[in-house]
């Protein structure tokens, strides 16, 4: 009898559990998952959402915010189980996988239905001919230089060629003072360093790692860049601990005056100023090979935006995307985020931004955006495979030629999947 009673309790608990789980979400609410809210000034993104809600009565936006890496895991898991938010923030490296998986929706039908003017979008990321992602805001990666260290080392002008960069790095390196010329983050946890700090050297000089959309690493442009990185490592000008350094460590080292130069996102200007108000630093475009006269390729990362294939409110979701991409809102958003706009007609107001930003805008206008990983299949995996090979090169186990040959082989296999 008492046993029966216990079972009754248990079933009661189960019933309560079952009842509570039925709690439904209001159906006009759009979920918007991204990693941007924490990266923008407090309340900034929410403010833009409030404006959107005011302009579109009947639609509410729920922001799902997390850090970059957690957002990535969540989007992958969400895609696998059909719980992806209606509107999702995307990194160019994720698009291909999510599109092939059918997790994000092609935007073409929505654009057609709305008679959307595509020419205003700076860059539409496509997979198999269909549009999946708009870069909402782009962050360019120039070289940051600690001007105090440069001055003390007798470096009087910003390096513009690889030789000048190597020379400046050597002059700024003083291991006894824990001071190094450059920092290279190659941690395998997030292998972005391959994109931002290694392959960027290739793109800056007009080189490429692809040919007709297929891997083409065994070319002088890529080998030359790897030889350059190797020479810097051999010269001992890179801050130690390369293989365990993450992007976040890179920034801290620069902020604390431990390294003279780093390749980093413009988005960091405010952060660096906040962390160390006394740091004097300048920026310049990534150095190119001697004698290169073409447009400088500028590595960049972007906050991309797309719509979930499972969304039940695609029309509303499109309204939000179009709103964020509209010249006025886009301009406002990128001014807040210290980024460059995704809408060509947007006129961001950088007057309140850091003076360096005006300089960066000039670099941006003189160069061209270059990030060949955007839209590639399993881009993160590609970077990781190359990262391992580059680590082998820095450990003296492989030559740059072997690095490109091995990576080429692995990439071809990935592309064939």
């Amino acid at each position: 009898m008492s046993l029966k009673r216990s079972l009754t309790y248990l079933s009661a608990v189960a019933t309560v559990l079952a009842l509570c789980t039925g709690a439904a979400i209001a159906d006009t609410t759009l979920e918007f998952a991204q990693w941007w809210e924490p990266e923008m000034p407090a309340g900034a993104l929410r403010g833009i959402m409030n404006d959107f809600e005011a302009a579109n009565p009947g639609i509410k936006v729920k922001l799902i915010s997390g850090p970059y890496s957690a957002t990535h895991d969540q989007i992958v898991a969400g895609a696998a189980s059909g719980t992806l938010s209606d509107v999702v923030g995307l990194d160019g490296a994720w698009v291909n996988g999510l599109a092939k998986q059918g997790a994000i929706a092609p935007l073409d039908p929505l654009m057609d239905a709305a008679k959307y003017d595509r020419s205003q979008i700076a860059d539409i990321i496509k997979v198999d001919g269909k549009s999946y992602m708009f870069p909402l805001a782009s962050f360019v990666y120039p070289v940051f230089i600690n001007l105090d260290l440069a001055k003390a080392a007798g470096v009087d002008r910003l390096p513009s060629t690889r030789n000048e960069f190597a020379d400046a790095a050597k002059k700024m390196t003083h291991p006894d003072k824990n001071q190094y010329g450059w920092v290279l983050p190659l941690s395998l946890q997030t292998p972005n360093g391959i994109q931002n700090d290694v392959m960027s050297w290739v793109w800056a000089s007009g080189g490429s790692m692809l040919k007709d959309g297929k891997p083409d690493l065994e070319n002088p442009g890529v080998v030359g860049a790897l030889e350059f990185v190797k020479s810097l490592n051999d010269a001992g000008v890179i801050s130690p601990g390369i293989d365990a350094t993450k992007e976040q460590d890179k920034v801290e080292q620069f902020v604390n005056g431990r390294v003279g130069m780093m390749i980093d996102s413009l988005a960091h200007i405010n952060l660096i100023r906040k962390r160390n108000p006394n740091l004097h630093f300048g920026i310049s475009a990534l150095p190119a090979v001697e004698g290169y006269a073409g447009k400088r390729g500028l590595p960049y990362a972007s906050w991309g935006i797309g719509i979930s294939a499972n969304s039940k409110h695609k029309e509303e979701a499109w309204k939000l995307v179009a709103y964020l991409m509209s010249p006025e809102v886009n301009g406002k958003l990128v001014s807040l985020a210290n980024a460059f706009p995704g809408n060509v007609n947007a006129k961001p107001d950088f007057s309140k931004s850091d003076p360096l930003f005006a300089e960066a805008f000039k670099i941006f206008q003189a160069g061209k955006l270059a990030n060949e990983f955007v839209g590639l299949p399993v881009a993160e995996q590609l970077m990781r495979e190359m990262d391992v090979e580059v680590q082998k090169m820095l450990a003296g186990q492989e030559t740059p030629q072997q690095v490109v040959a091995n990576t080429q082989k692995e990439w071809l296999a990935d592309f064939a999947k």
Binding site: D73, V76, S187, P191, D243, A244, V378, V388, A395
Partner: protein
């Protein structure tokens, strides 16, 4: 016990009595069946398919994913490193846990101090893996405190790149895992030591046994059951360690700290290949199940 039960048609007291234990274990078993058995079957099914989850209509490929894993040298490297990492962790957990337990159990120590130290020594247990990873990454940075101290003491002559050199990374990682995991042993062994009858030591003392002999012939045999249970469970748990390794090294440099869990994670979350990831996961499962086999055998022997 109930063997002499008569098989009457109506629900007799005896039958009810026979059902009682099943009722008591029912909640736990229902939970396990729902949240363990079912997902395991699902994972096993994925592992036999090509492009599970990702493809609309995944095809059945038999053991092809397993074969692909077995043909990958990195898989075997990860297996080897998992076993190395796990075995060393278990051995040092035991050694350090035992050392601390013996020190804390020593009658020479003032009881108030003992209770305070007991709490302080347990501290590493209280932190989540992410923060442990962050602290140790900072402490073991080439420019970090540990190198500074070691260089001041002339133990090392240059800044050691603990986590970014293939020769030290796995050992450094094991060191951190040892630090994070010894308290469970310490607490269990301390509890065990307090349960060892004092008379045994007194008798041995009369027979002229010294401290080492007492440890060897009384303490160790008395603690053996605890040691075996904890070590086996720890073996199983350590084999699955993920956030710590992932946050500190991500498996690098060059695969030197790749363990089964990071290997699996990359397949699932970087390569989006859930079928391959499932087959690797089943391999981890089989490895730890073999440890369970010994555990069960040990329990039966008791």
């Amino acid at each position: 016990m109930q063997a002499t039960l008569s098989r009457r048609a109506f629900v007799s007291y005896a039958t009810r009595r026979k059902l009682v234990p099943y009722a008591y274990v029912a909640p736990a078993m229902a939970l396990f069946a729902l949240l363990m058995l079912y997902p395991m079957i699902a994972v096993f099914r994925y592992s036999l398919m090509d492009g599970a989850i990702i493809k609309r209509n995944p095809t059945f490929v038999g053991f092809a994913n397993y074969v692909a894993n077995f043909e990958n040298p990195v898989f075997w490297q990860a297996v080897g490193q998992t076993l190395y990492f796990t075995s060393l962790s278990v051995i040092f957990h035991l050694a350090i846990g035992m050392g601390f337990a013996l020190l804390l159990n020593s009658p020479l120590v003032n009881p108030t101090l003992r209770s305070l130290l007991r709490t302080l020594y347990v501290l590493p247990w209280l932190f989540t893996a992410v923060i442990i990873a962050i602290i140790w990454r900072l402490l073991l940075d080439p420019e970090g405190v540990i190198n500074a101290i070691l260089m001041a003491l002339h133990v090392v002559g240059h800044k050691v790149e603990w986590f970014s050199s293939t020769t030290t990374a796995l050992d450094a990682l094991t060191f951190v895992n040892v630090w994070a995991g010894y308290p469970l042993y310490m607490v269990s062994l301390l509890a065990g030591l307090q349960g060892v009858p004092k008379e045994l030591y007194e008798a041995a003392g009369i027979d002229g046994a010294n401290a080492i002999e007492k440890f060897r012939f009384i303490t160790v045999p008395q603690l053996t059951p605890i040691i075996i249970s904890i070590a086996l469970l720890d073996f199983i748990w350590t084999m699955q360690v993920f956030p710590l390794v992932w946050t500190i090294t991500g498996g690098g440099p060059i695969y030197s700290t790749e363990v089964m869990s990071t290997y699996t994670y990359k397949q699932a979350f970087a390569d989006y290949d859930f079928s391959m990831a499932s087959s690797s996961a089943i391999c981890i499962l089989l490895m730890s199940l073999s440890a369970t086999y010994f555990y069960v055998k040990h329990q039966k022997a008791q």
